[in-house]
């Protein structure tokens, strides 16, 4: 701002309303702008609040699983698995080997599918419309695999307490291997299209930098935390299921800008393919579900268990009263909740086009925030 008698300018309020093609889900921002520059951004949430936690208090444990599906519908398998992990810890149930392998395969395939959604919507937000369709073309193959197994494409109700609900059909493994064989070439296509593209780089580099200390303080997790330089992945640092049997790398970023987050998630897709390939090779035969009684009543206790979702740390806190089929309290914690909380801090002083880029690169979706 000059101190000479410049033109009188005022800040004005702009509403980036809940209906908007680029906010991922229904989220409203009230922006105070000085020309093109965002001075303050206040998020308003609650447009997708479905009171899932209250509903879960009113359902038995197996009945809660479809509710958890809808907690974060882009990665339904992870939500169900988080709940099953917590319940199994409470009740001391151990799922059989084959079930654990199938769970890992489904979780990682779901992670790839979720990252493909992220890839498509991020490119779409920045104006490159074509990668959106390429990402969804690959996702169709994964959804075919899911449909073959459990009949559903989005909310699966597949991972159950004690195992999985049904075994994979015989054509699953060859089809999955076929997908894994052609997937690296497709990732190379995406990389060639966008990575070195100068427009992509200047839209994403040094935009939305999230410093390390701020990231930790705000509870940011998952790819966003790793892009800021902290090498922390719950699959390696607080392992659950059988992830310690697989060999995979954890990519880490340096600067914490949108470009780092983009590169990191592309690399994560490759690593997830590695895990699925190893799991398919090691898949043992056997039971797919431990018998859980129809009157399943876990003993009194409480547990908070967390898993590494594609969007960050997904945690489920369950408190069980001991003598009831229904949980006393189910608290769901999603990664996007904290990411949306930190967003106003990192878009301050940037342009409005950068807000769109940051929201896309942090992969925030509203069902996780609002529940």
């Amino acid at each position: 701002m000059t101190t000479t008698k410049a033109l009188h300018t005022e800040e004005f309020l702009v509403n980036m309303g809940p209906h908007h093609p680029s906010t991922h889900g229904v989220c409203r921002f009230l922006l105070t702008m000085d020309g093109e520059v965002v001075v303050k951004a206040v998020p308003y949430i609650g447009y997708l609040h479905r009171a899932l936690e209250k509903i879960c208090e009113n359902r038995t444990y197996p009945q809660c699983l479809p509710i958890l599906d809808r907690f974060e519908y882009c990665t339904s398998m992870s939500c169900e698995y988080a709940f099953c992990l917590a319940t199994e810890k409470l009740a001391g149930i151990q799922a059989p080997e084959r079930a654990e392998y199938l769970r890992v395969i489904m979780l990682e395939l779901n992670r790839i599918a979720s990252h493909l959604i992220w890839f498509g919507t991020t490119s779409l937000d920045l104006g490159a419309i074509t990668p959106f369709l390429y990402g969804f073309r690959e996702r169709e193959d994964i959804l075919d695999l899911f449909e073959m197994t459990c009949g559903q494409r989005l909310t699966y109700n597949y991972i159950r307490i004690g195992g999985v609900s049904r075994d994979v059909p015989p054509e699953f493994i060859p089809k999955a291997k076929e997908f894994l064989d052609k997937f690296p070439a497709k990732i190379e296509d995406y990389v060639k299209l966008l990575n070195e593209n100068p427009i992509w780089m200047i839209r994403n580099q040094n935009v939305g930098i999230l410093p390390r200390e701020m990231a930790l303080s705000y509870g940011v997790s998952g790819p966003v935390l790793r892009a800021s330089g902290i090498k922390f992945d719950i699959r390696k640092d607080d392992p659950y299921s059988i992830y310690d049997r697989f060999d995979f790398n954890i990519p880490t970023g340096k600067v914490g800008d949108c470009y780092d987050r983009y590169l990191l998630r592309i690399e994560e897709m490759r690593q997830s393919s590695r895990i699925v390939r190893q799991a398919l090779e090691q898949l043992p035969s056997g039971e797919i579900k431990t018998k859980v009684s129809a009157n399943f009543k876990p003993p009194k206790g409480e547990v908070y268990s967390r898993i590494e979702n594609s969007r960050g740390e997904m945690g489920i806190y369950i408190q069980s009263p001991g003598d009831s089929k229904k949980p006393l309290r189910v608290k769901m914690r999603g990664g996007s909740y904290n990411h949306l909380q930190v967003m106003p801090e990192i878009v301050k002083g940037g342009k409005i086009a950068d807000l769109v880029a940051v929201m896309a690169s942090m992969d925030i979706i509203m069902p996780e925030v609002d529940r």
């Binding site: 359902r59 930790l216 705000y218 806190y317």
Partner: protein
């Protein structure tokens, strides 16, 4: 450090403030008194063996007799994760805000206030966000909350 070492360390360090409520299941759970909250948080953040730099979750529970607020914390440097909780009666339920230690607590506490009615001291921004702006039907997550269209499912 694994859970037995962690439990031992915490009980030794904070013997007067913490009380173990361990069901042997997963990570250890401790009970803390409300007045020790801020001091405890400051210490576990500054302590080198613990180095708790990550607040995972704040959950409020209505057990029918009391309110409980459960804090789940973790450390990204040392592989540590534990929970601690504070119980309080229904009348005048309030707690201090811990957002000076972990800024991510801001929205979690705001949600606790909005859905349970537990007052958070020194928060600074206790406004509605999940529920509609003109909500006047009480605190929905309490067990004694009722509404005309709220149907309790029967015990099967």
């Amino acid at each position: 450090m694994d859970r037995t070492e962690l439990t031992k360390y915490l009980l030794d360090r904070f013997s007067d403030k913490l009380q173990l409520l361990d069901t042997g299941k997963a990570e250890p759970v401790f009970i803390l008194k409300a007045e020790n909250l801020l001091e405890f948080c400051r210490t576990i953040k500054a302590d080198d063996t613990l180095a708790i730099d990550f607040l995972c979750n704040i959950a409020a529970v209505d057990t029918g007799d009391l309110f409980e607020i459960v804090y789940s914390v973790a450390s990204t440097k040392n592989r540590i994760r534990f929970d601690f909780k504070i119980t309080m009666p229904y009348e005048n339920a309030e707690i201090d805000s811990i957002q000076e230690f972990w800024a991510g607590a801001n929205w979690h506490e705001r949600e606790v206030w909005e859905l349970f009615g537990i007052n958070i001291r020194n928060h600074g921004n206790l406004t509605r966000f999940l529920l509609p702006d003109d909500w006047n039907q009480g605190f929905p997550m309490r067990k004694n909350w009722d509404a005309p269209d709220f149907v309790r499912m029967p015990e099967l």
